[in-house]
């Protein structure tokens, strides 16, 4: 994800519950696959403001994403179980986080907003 300037071509979403100006926020970036961008009605990256008071995990990054774009619920993680869908992968900073526990803390560069979390549709099918 070189040459991506944070904030450029980005849909910036703030979960309603976090619109309290007393809470310090950090912005993380998420890149969605084409079908999910279409479904969410976004064009480029998604920027999400999340509380700075705690480390951002895969789980709460996805929770924040779904809170801003409820249509994405069920598309990356199954309803009910919350398990990652079989053909969805999560990458960041050249690491495959897909098989990590949901409470894995995202790499510092993702938390700092200098690198995005990548949601990827597995290469499969025709």
């Amino acid at each position: 994800m070189d040459s991506v300037v944070p904030g450029a071509h980005m849909d910036h979403a703030v979960p309603e519950a976090r619109m309290d100006h007393r809470v310090e926020l950090v912005t993380i970036r998420v890149v969605l696959p084409t079908h999910l961008r279409t479904l969410a009605g976004v064009n480029g990256e998604v920027a999400l403001d999340v509380p700075a008071s705690r480390a951002v995990t895969l789980r709460n990054a996805l929770d924040a994403l779904e809170a801003c774009y409820p249509v994405l619920r069920g598309t990356m993680r199954d309803f009910g179980t919350g398990r990652r869908r079989a053909f969805v992968r999560f990458f960041a900073c050249q690491q495959d986080l897909s098989h990590e526990p949901p409470d894995t803390v995202l790499p510092p560069a993702v938390q700092a907003g200098t690198e995005p979390l990548l949601v990827v549709g597995a290469v499969a099918g025709g």
Binding site: P33, T34, H35, L36, L39, V71, R73, G74, T75, M76, D78, F79, G80, R85, A86, F87, V88, G121, A122, A124, G125
Partner: protein
């Protein structure tokens, strides 16, 4: 002036085909939801602009879309299909117990009298209902939890509830069909169900006359005579005259009685249409000739309809939800193929025209007759 809208679900999106009442020229709009599998699109019978679409992929799961303007614009609505209570198990392909797992919505059946009420038939087989325009879904669990449920097994396409037929005359009566469990009837608006498979005989199951285990492909009804149902089974074309209490075979002189869709003429309850397919191993028309067969006698005597359909080198299939009729004065008939063609007849099947030639593989065809 009246018109026709044909709602086409394909492997790579939905298309809306429209024509005036002459049905001579067609406009194709789409793809909607390009790249997604659209198993079914269907309109409300009491609000022609209210449509529901089932949108899914193996990657990103299930979405339900709703249109309130006849398919011009769409809005995603609720898509959480959670089985009610303990899910239990059904038989897996190898005979072992397998937990019920939601995969996708195969069929959407809007209510006959309320545009906000719609039923969804899903894989693994279950029936869901929304009474708020698709925003939320609740399972009618009496079907899945029928005592025979642990015996149900998937067909090659999965264990899907693919057919929902609502009885317009008997309040609370509805029919559902599951591959490969069979046909079921409820007389209390879906709360409780019982198998209605007496008379079906399936040589491919250990007990050919079993109460459940039959691979029913499609059931059709004429609304003026809801006790008469026509069925295309895996093999055999069947009929019941008593709302499913007993079935009898009407395959008669068909060249093969394997197939998927079955439809009834809009104005002639004894006129029935099927598309014979060579066999369960050869999912294409016999001899490379795409022929719709019509019976004007409620079965047994069948006439091939070929004018305008390819009669050589044709090896497409027509899937179970991919044939429907309009209700204009001269009944129109429509079907889509796995080769991406949609064929239409404005004269009850006598002659045919391809109204779309190069769509993605067609999964479903539903027709709205517009006021």
């Amino acid at each position: 002036m009246s018109g026709v809208r044909v709602l086409v679900g394909t492997r790579k999106g939905a298309f809306v085909l429209t024509s005036d009442g002459k049905r001579a020229s067609w406009e194709i709009a789409g793809p909607h939801f390009g790249g997604w599998e659209i198993y079914h699109v269907k309109g409300s019978p009491v609000d022609q602009d209210r449509l529901y679409a089932s949108q899914s992929t193996g990657w990103f799961g299930q979405k339900i879309q709703r249109s309130d303007d006849g398919g011009k614009t769409w809005e995603p609505v609720g898509s959480e299909f959670s089985y009610d209570g303990t899910t239990g198990t059904h038989q897996w392909y190898d005979g072992t117990p397998h937990p019920w797992e939601f995969a996708r919505v195969w069929h959407l059946e809007p209510s006959l009298d309320d545009p906000d009420t719609v039923y969804a038939g899903v894989e693994d087989a279950g029936l869901f209902k929304s009474a708020d325009g698709g925003a939320t879904w609740a399972e009618l669990a009496g079907l899945r939890t029928h005592k025979s449920g642990p015996e149900w097994a998937p067909g090659a396409g999965g264990m899907c509830l693919h057919t929902i037929v609502l009885d317009p005359a008997h309040e609370g009566r509805m029919f559902a069909a599951i591959s490969a469990a069979g046909a079921f009837r409820s007389d209390d608006s879906g709360a409780t169900w019982r198998p209605i498979n007496k008379g079906l005989r399936s040589e491919y199951v250990p007990e050919p006359d079993a109460d459940v285990g039959h691979c029913v492909h499609r059931i059709a009804m004429h609304p003026s005579r809801p006790e008469v149902l026509f069925m295309q089974k895996h093999w055999d074309v069947m009929r019941t005259d008593d709302a499913g209490e007993t079935w009898y075979e009407i395959s008669g002189d068909l060249p093969t009685d394997f197939g998927f869709p079955i439809a009834v003429h809009a104005h002639e309850p004894e006129t029935v249409y099927v598309v014979p397919i060579t066999s369960d191993s050869l999912h294409f028309p016999p001899d490379g000739k795409l022929r719709v067969y019509r019976s004007r006698t409620g079965g047994n005597e069948w006439q091939p309809l070929t004018a305008g359909l390819p009669q050589q080198d044709c090896y497409v299939n027509v899937l179970r939800d991919a044939m429907d009729v309009d209700s204009l004065e001269e009944c129109g008939l429509y079907f889509g193929t796995t080769g991406g063609q949609v064929y239409a007849s404005a004269d009850a099947g006598d002659t045919w025209t391809a109204i779309a030639g190069n769509l993605p593989s067609v999964l479903s065809v539903e027709v709205q007759t517009l006021a």
